[in-house]
């Protein structure tokens, strides 16, 4: 579903990124329609994280365009870039919670950072902590968890807190970097469920990168595969296990034999 002008929510064209002689993204083209949950799969080192970081502005690509709502992020003014990125929420692989703050303060930080930018008026610390308590409940945690420090939480709880912080600004684009990595299958399914709930509730467009095929099918309604910096397949997430593409099928079924070969560094 595109917007009324037929412009996809996120449009990426000819994205290139190399680190020294190592080409990580090699002309990636990708459209993500508004309201879509796109899952990007691919092996380690295929460029998934770099693609995500380019969109987030954490890495500057060497060439190409990244458009959000038709506005090129890479050539827009600083204030426009900030405004576009303010629409974004991000759940990092390890949660990336601030260890100098309590859990509640982590979520309240997201509340204050996003609200102050959007409306010009920053909620007070007390107000932000109250909102944070509600957000913690929304991801299935008791608000009393807010008083703990991040190091006192399990991996699954840290992911939930990271999710609460990511949705604090009511983002309309959400990114998930390997959301189930390091979690047991049940907790992985719980996190996936929370992600789907949050994305649906906010009406957001989502991009998730993952190795976990079960997670990919739970989170996504569209899917794409990156291999050696190129997008080699796009389709419905439900087709992932039976895509008809030899590389995708080898990857999703975890077969050793097939067109994908492992590169051993010398």
């Amino acid at each position: 579903m595109s917007n009324s002008l037929g412009i996809p929510k996120i449009r990426i064209r000819g994205l290139h990124k190399a680190f020294g002689s190592k080409i990580v993204l090699d002309g990636v083209d990708l459209d993500v329609e508004a309201g879509t949950s796109m899952v990007i799969i691919g092996g380690s080192g295929s460029g998934k994280s770099v693609l995500l970081r380019c969109i987030l502005g954490l890495i500057e690509p060497d060439a190409g365009t990244i458009e959000i709502d038709g506005e090129n992020l890479l050539t827009a003014s600083r204030s426009k870039q900030d405004a576009l990125r303010r629409q974004i929420g991000m759940l990092f692989q390890n949660g990336a919670l601030f260890d100098s703050m309590s859990v509640g303060e982590n979520v309240a930080f997201g509340v204050r950072a996003k609200h102050s930018d959007r409306n010009g008026a920053t909620p007070s610390r007390t107000q932000a902590l109250q909102i944070a308590g509600g957000l913690l409940e929304q991801v299935g945690l008791d608000p009393s968890v807010g008083e703990l420090s991040p190091s006192e939480l399990s991996g699954g709880m840290q992911k939930r807190v990271g999710l609460a912080r990511a949705i604090a600004g009511n983002p309309n684009i959400m990114f998930f970097d390997e959301p189930t990595t390091g979690l047991d299958p049940i907790m992985g399914a719980v996190i996936d469920g929370l992600i789907v709930d949050c994305v649906q509730k906010l009406g957001s467009t989502a991009i998730a990168i993952t190795h976990d095929m079960a997670s990919a099918q739970r989170i996504g309604n569209r899917a794409a595969m990156l291999y050696r910096g190129k997008l080699i397949w796009q389709g419905e997430a439900s087709e992932l296990m039976n895509s008809g593409n030899a590389m995708v099928d080898q990857f999703t079924h975890g077969r050793r034999e097939g067109p994908i070969t492992m590169e051993l560094r010398k």
Binding site: L56, L58, G89, M90, F92, A96, L97, A113, K114, D117
Partner: protein, 261 residues
């Protein structure tokens, strides 16, 4: 392999690397300073850094200054005894402490304590994606993490040095009166006669510069650390060693600037 050219090439590469590092450090400092005049300013981080740098460094700086003043008095007594000018001890102590030992020793202590902590904290945030998380939360990491620490370091060290000056002179006084048999009133009079406003002020200016450099090196190395725990460890070492070397270099430059005439 060329036995003549290879060492020269290696020297050239090292020099270029040093220039590149200096340029990157200068740009980092300029960017951080530019946030001082662009709101918002993170006062909570500033006050917390100020307390961490200033208040919690007080014991180590105080002890260092106290014993340094005492040692100078003792050493001067032995040395000056050969020329029968022991009466100059009070002047030597106050001159050495206010001009050099106060700022330099306090700076080195703070570099080891606070510079290392800043580097480790920011470095850990870097390798665990916390700095990237700040960016995704519409918060400029330079503005949030670096600028308040630079200001705190610049303001905290002069306060510490003022305390170090007083305690250093007190250390000299205590040893001179209790051990070397000086009259308290004579020693105090000699100290006050030798005490120059310019010496104290220049010491505080040095301290401000040292505080800035310590915070800058701590933040810069932490901010650019890579590669997990080992990277954070290397960054912390680089922060302390770099700050100590720069501190001594700037000590010479500032001494030359203010006192060479």
């Amino acid at each position: 392999m060329n036995a003549v050219l290879d060492p020269i090439a290696a020297l050239g590469r090292a020099a270029l690397g040093l220039i590149k590092q200096a340029g990157a450090l200068a740009l980092f400092a300029l960017e951080a300073l530019s946030h001082l005049v662009r709101p918002p300013f993170y006062w909570r981080i500033f006050f917390s850094s100020l307390i961490e740098t200033g208040f919690f460094s007080l014991p180590v700086v105080a002890l260092t200054a106290l014993f340094s003043g005492a040692v100078i008095a003792l050493q001067s007594y032995v040395g000056f005894g050969q020329y029968h000018v022991q009466s100059a001890i009070a002047g030597i102590v106050v001159l050495a402490v206010t001009r050099e030992l106060g700022p330099v020793l306090a700076g080195l202590m703070v570099a080891g304590r606070v510079g290392a902590a800043m580097s480790a904290q920011i470095g850990t945030m870097r390798v665990t994606d916390q700095i990237d998380a700040l960016t995704t939360l519409s918060t400029d990491p330079m503005k949030y993490l670096v600028t308040p620490r630079l200001l705190a370091g610049t303001l905290a060290l002069p306060c510490l040095v003022l305390v170090a000056d007083i305690l250093g002179v007190m250390g000299g006084f205590t040893v001179s009166v209790a051990k070397l048999g000086f009259s308290p009133s004579t020693y105090i009079t000699a100290t006050l006669d030798s005490l120059k406003t310019m010496d104290v002020v220049v010491g505080l200016v040095k301290a401000a510069v040292f505080g800035f450099l310590i915070a800058l090196l701590g933040c810069y190395n932490g901010y650019n650390s890579r590669g997990g725990a080992e990277g954070v460890g290397s960054a912390t070492t680089a922060a302390v060693v770099g700050a100590s070397i720069l501190l001594l270099l700037f000590d010479y430059l500032l001494t030359d600037l203010f006192f060479s005439q």
